[in-house]
């Protein structure tokens, strides 16, 4: 998908993350395929959105990238070099270059530390800079995320919710990461605050030429923040492509139903039409065929037997047997 001239900054090759399901007496009763055979790549400066409903595996994918889960199979490459394999500790230098931001990034601040100390800490661990050098960096980044200098002497509980998120972002940015994984960066925020947080992420993207992966259940959020979108269903990528294409001309029936389910203020009511029936099945219960077939309006008999592969045409990929170019 990427041009040969610019090698992808991040590359996932057939990445899987499975969890054992324990039954009676801890015996292995099955396998939960949270992430199953996912391949994608990300060029420098690009923003990729990963969208899916609960249970689609989008968060597990993000956590596997962030080094919180070990992949069961497959390779993650950062600038061409493999960084995550099964059961190997990720080197410190890699962790600084690829950062994972939790849902409530403000909550990951130490409650008993001033903001200054929290922001210095990553630099103490990852660099051998002098105190003055670190302080200069901390002030620069705090300014970039819109925190005033006097905020640095405050404790997390003295900051508002929005300021805490800014502080959490600053903590990620002091290390100058090449790639940031945002996991539901605005969940639980009011719309008015969400918009300011998204504007902040847009601002730092421009400022630092940031490459990021944004995971969200909200199609509107990733749609407004990302160049490309990947739609996940039951651990698989069912569609991937440029945001405008995926939202404007969805190729997978699941993407279509997601797009059609979004309320459009001022437009016709979505509830006037029929909503998509059913809910996703439990990932462990799927054995064969397309995972979406239980809800699919256009499924055929073949869909129960054949596992659709991701077919990419004109940078727009879809995993559906029924799709024709």
């Amino acid at each position: 998908m990427s041009e040969p001239s610019s090698p992808p900054l991040l590359e996932l090759e057939r990445l899987s993350c499975h969890f054992p399901i324990r039954g009676l007496l801890g015996r292995r009763a099955g396998t939960l395929r949270a992430v199953d055979d996912v391949s994608l790549s990300l060029r420098e400066g690009e923003a990729l959105g990963i969208v899916g409903e609960s249970g689609s595996g989008k968060s597990t994918l993000g956590k596997t990238l962030g080094g919180i889960h070990d992949p069961t199979d497959g390779v993650i490459r950062l600038a061409g070099e493999p960084i995550a394999t099964q059961r190997s500790r990720r080197p410190l230098s890699v962790r600084a270059r690829l950062q994972y931001v939790y849902q409530d990034s403000g909550a990951s601040l130490d409650q008993r530390w001033t903001l200054r100390r929290s922001l210095h800490e990553p630099l103490v661990i990852h660099t051998d800079w002098s105190r003055e050098h670190r302080e200069a960096k901390v002030r620069e980044i705090a300014g970039a995320v819109g925190l005033a200098e006097e905020h640095l002497d405050l404790y997390p509980h003295e900051l508002s919710g929005g300021q805490q998120r800014r502080a959490g972002l600053a903590r990620i940015l002091v290390l100058g990461p090449q790639i940031v994984v945002f996991d539901e960066p605005t969940s639980g925020l009011d719309f008015s605050v969400q918009a300011t947080v998204l504007a902040l992420i847009r601002g730092i993207r421009r400022m630092f030429n940031l490459t990021y992966l944004m995971i969200s259940h909200d199609l509107n959020v990733v749609g407004s923040m990302c160049d490309r979108l990947a739609v996940m269903y039951l651990g698989r990528i069912v569609e991937i492509g440029p945001t405008r294409e995926v939202l404007g001309r969805p190729r997978h029936p699941y993407t279509r139903s997601l797009v059609d389910s979004l309320p459009r203020i001022g437009g016709p009511r979505v509830t006037d039409r029929l909503g998509m029936p059913g809910e996703p099945v439990f990932p462990a219960d799927m054995h064969q065929g397309c995972g979406y077939r239980t809800r699919c309006p256009i499924g055929t008999l073949a869909c129960t037997r054949i596992d659709p592969r991701l077919v990419i045409k004109e940078a727009h990929g879809v995993a559906c047997l029924e799709w024709r170019p």
């Binding site: 409903e53 609960s54 508002s160 929005g162 009011d190 719309f191 008015s192 605050v193 969400q194 918009a195 300011t196 998204l198 504007a199 847009r202 259940h217 909200d218 199609l219 509107n220 959020v221 749609g223 407004s224 923040m225 945001t243 405008r244 939202l247 139903s257 997601l258 389910s261 979004l262 309320p263 459009r264 203020i265 001022g266 009511r269 979505v270 509830t271 029929l274 909503g275 998509m276 029936p277 809910e279």
Partner: protein, 334 residues
Amino acid sequence: MTALLEIRDLCLAFRTDKGPAQVLDGVDLTVAPGEIVGLVGESGSGKTSLARAILGALPVPQAEIASGRIRLDGVDMLRGGKAAESLRGRVVTFVPQDPLDSFNPLFRVGTQLADIMRYRAPPAKEGRFGNARHARETAILEMLDAVQLPQSRALLDRYPHQLSGGQRQRVMLAMALLPQPRMIIADEPTAALDVTVQVQILGLLRRIAAERGVAILFTTHDLGAAWEICDRIIVMYAGQIAEILPRTAFFAKSRHPYTRMLLASLPEPGREAIGISGESASPLSPPPGCRFHPRCPMASDICRKARPLPSRSEDGHLVACHHPWAAASSPAHV
């Protein structure tokens, strides 16, 4: 049409260690039978407290209703005593945000539905051989059918944690409908659901209101969900009503700066949402005058001094603002 629910000048405060927190300030609203009214606001706007005040479910020692009245079906809900008590859970029922918190995890779904039938619902028609239990079961299965739950008999034997999020919310709706209420108060009923399931539940709420003539008071922070199902939307900010919009004036003709800025905050592919700077007003020390003035770009001296009085136009559109947008102008984002 006479109102089913009528709230006049409701002022509610919570006693806290730091002094009284004014959660609701002079709220006026009515809901007609069969009407779906959306109560839209961000966190701290007082929408959930308002819903709880109607249900009489406010925390007892802390909550203090300073003034105002709530009348439901002609009964004074605040001072009605036994008469008001007999309406709660019967004439007005409740659908919570996260149904898992509201089920008893130790009892099967069927048992919990049967309890509602026994203690809250009007007596069922005599069943086969005059068996009341059989009649109750028939009524429950009919209701599960009405909320579009297939294979409902198998469902009755399950425990709440064995149901999916959408199924739980449907069972909750069935429980709210069994007493044959005239009004359902739904507190963010779709906030915890995926978008494809949200559409199903919203469609179901609309059908219930249309087919059974049940009024629904629907609190949400999601303007999109409100747009989907509401006949009227009440926009609240910091315990006060900012604007009431009828369906015909829905959003495109919104006049309050807060409503417009909230709309401009919605993320949308291909557009950069703007957001509202600053923090929501603290209920402990609300700003004088209009509570939105510290965040409002239109604010002037009068906004800092005097609370704007609501002005109502013929179509029922009400706005409480000293500098409302002209009725004809269309908001920037449309």
